[in-house]
Amino acid sequence: MAEPDVLVAPSTIEYPFRRTTGPVIGAFLTALREGFLVGIKSSDGKVIVPPVEYDPYTADALTEIVEVGDAGEVTAWSWVAEPLDGQPLDRPFAFALIKLDGADTAMLHVVDTGGDPAAIATGMRVRARWKPPRPVGASEEDDATGAHRVGSILDIECFVPEGEN
């Protein structure tokens, strides 16, 4: 059957809102901007990173923010040979669940091995590669360039095998 002649029109969707991040997510994002990572203590004393406002199992409100390390262990990974638009790296990389030092749960981020799929493995140690600090007096336009830390999960450019940065 021949492909019918179909009229199509482009439709681009935006979500241009500003949202208040609150005391828990806000604390995590603020810490990122300052160059460190925090988690939160769950009802049974485990450290959840990134922090959540309510315990995932008991639904208790959580409040005890604790600092964790910026290095840790890869607990699972997938190799993205052809990155999609928007993903943090434009060369082959790994999405990884990373259990940071001092944390009891793993966090999703990306690992850059210079494009080498053989250089990542479950259990390997990785460390955050940070963007530079936010310059004093930076404008909103400066923040939008992505060149420095602004309080975003992307303030960590990527994780790299420990010892490489």
């Binding site: 990134p50 040979a81 928007g86 793993a106 999703l108 990306v110 999960i153």
Partner: protein, 351 residues
């Protein structure tokens, strides 16, 4: 509890891209078909519940346009979930328990082709911790596959065998998109797509729709020679942080299966909504299904995966096999969210 049964099921022939039809045009023949198969007219329907995703349609309240397909004038009793149609069926089942609805129409549909599906679905994720990295569903499923492989829950050979079985089963499913005779060994020789997943470990991108008619008690018996009775139905969800969950198990499926009473008697067949090959192995374990249970005689979601309909289709496929007498007791499963985050389990029985 009122006895409620699936008495009719219809679906599209799922395709990679249905360009020549909009959503309501794609859905309309399915609605006509499901009503005809039930042997009723539209005015017999007391309640309509639908499932679809605004993310796919690229607009808010997109389900409203498909209400034209059911004829909403004079005013009808109607509801919608932004979830797979399996959850729309659950809502209809709950509503029928209240006693004022005897016949319900449930439908769902998804056109994935207009956008880049892998990118579109990243927009549904946590906006602070995940979405800025655009982690697509294939990459997230691959993390789960890696965890399951590392834990020894599944092997790459088992994953390829799941795919080969799906392709073979789909040979007898006219609605399937992918079918054929393939050997697991030849699948294993293919390159990785998003390692450890190969392209065939991932579901096809599909446009399609499905619908079922539910009927209660004696109405079901009047309308259908052998209704597929819902003997148990339950759905459970796990935390949305991936790192908090044990990705090598499906705890929420285990919980839903217990509440739905899966283990109360022997199961003849299971229709599992496992979009990725390794997930079928995880789900079989969670449901306690032995080798004697026929899994996905339709080919499952690896044969056609119209998002928002693929779960409802599992219920419809299982029900059809009971209605025709091929099975007495079946389990149908639907999933939602990344890496099997939320799961619905339904036990269907003939009389």
């Amino acid at each position: 509890m009122r006895d409620v049964a699936i008495i009719s099921f219809a679906q599209t022939q799922h395709r990679r891209a249905v360009r020549e039809l909009n959503e309501v045009e794609m859905l309309m023949p399915v609605l006509v078909d499901v009503v005809a198969k039930a042997g009723i007219t539209k005015d017999r329907i007391d309640f309509v519940c639908s499932g679809s995703a605004d993310y796919l349609a690229g607009m808010a309240f997109s389900f409203v346009m498909t209400l034209d397909g059911v004829g909403p004038w004079p005013p009808i009793s109607e509801s919608h979930v932004d979830m797979d149609g399996a959850w729309a069926l659950y809502e209809a089942w709950v509503k029928m328990q209240m006693g004022d609805v005897d016949v319900a129409l449930v439908y769902s549909y998804g056109k994935s082709s207009p956008g880049n599906l892998r990118r579109v679905l990243t927009r549904q994720l946590d906006p602070y911790y995940l979405a800025p990295m655009w982690p697509d569903p294939v990459s997230l499923a691959a993390l789960q596959a890696r965890a399951a492989l590392d834990a020894g829950v599944v092997t790459e050979t088992e994953m390829a065998e799941v795919v080969a079985a799906s392709r073979r089963a789909a040979l007898s499913n006219p609605s399937a998109q992918l079918r054929g005779e393939v050997e697991a060994s030849s699948l294993l020789s293919e390159e990785y797509f998003v390692a450890p997943l190969r392209r065939h470990d991932c579901p096809p991108i599909s446009d399609g729709a499905a619908a079922v008619i539910l009927a209660a008690d004696d109405v079901a018996r009047q309308l259908c020679e052998r209704p597929a009775w819902i003997r148990g139905i339950d759905h459970r969800i796990e935390p949305h942080s991936l790192g908090v969950r044990d990705l090598t198990r499906s705890v929420s499926t285990e919980q839903a299966a217990t509440h739905a009473g899966v283990d109360k008697d022997k199961i003849d067949l299971a229709e599992l909504h496992a979009p990725f090959s390794h997930q079928e192995v995880i789900l079989r374990r969670a449901l306690g299904l032995g080798d004697e249970v026929a899994v996905n005689p339709s080919g499952g979601a690896l044969a056609a995966n119209p998002i928002m309909a693929a779960g409802l289709i599992r219920l419809g496929e299982a029900a059809t096999r009971i209605t025709c007498g091929a099975a007495d007791r079946a389990v149908a499963h639907a999933t939602s969210g990344p890496c099997l985050q939320q799961n619905l389990v339904c036990v269907l029985e003939g009389e």
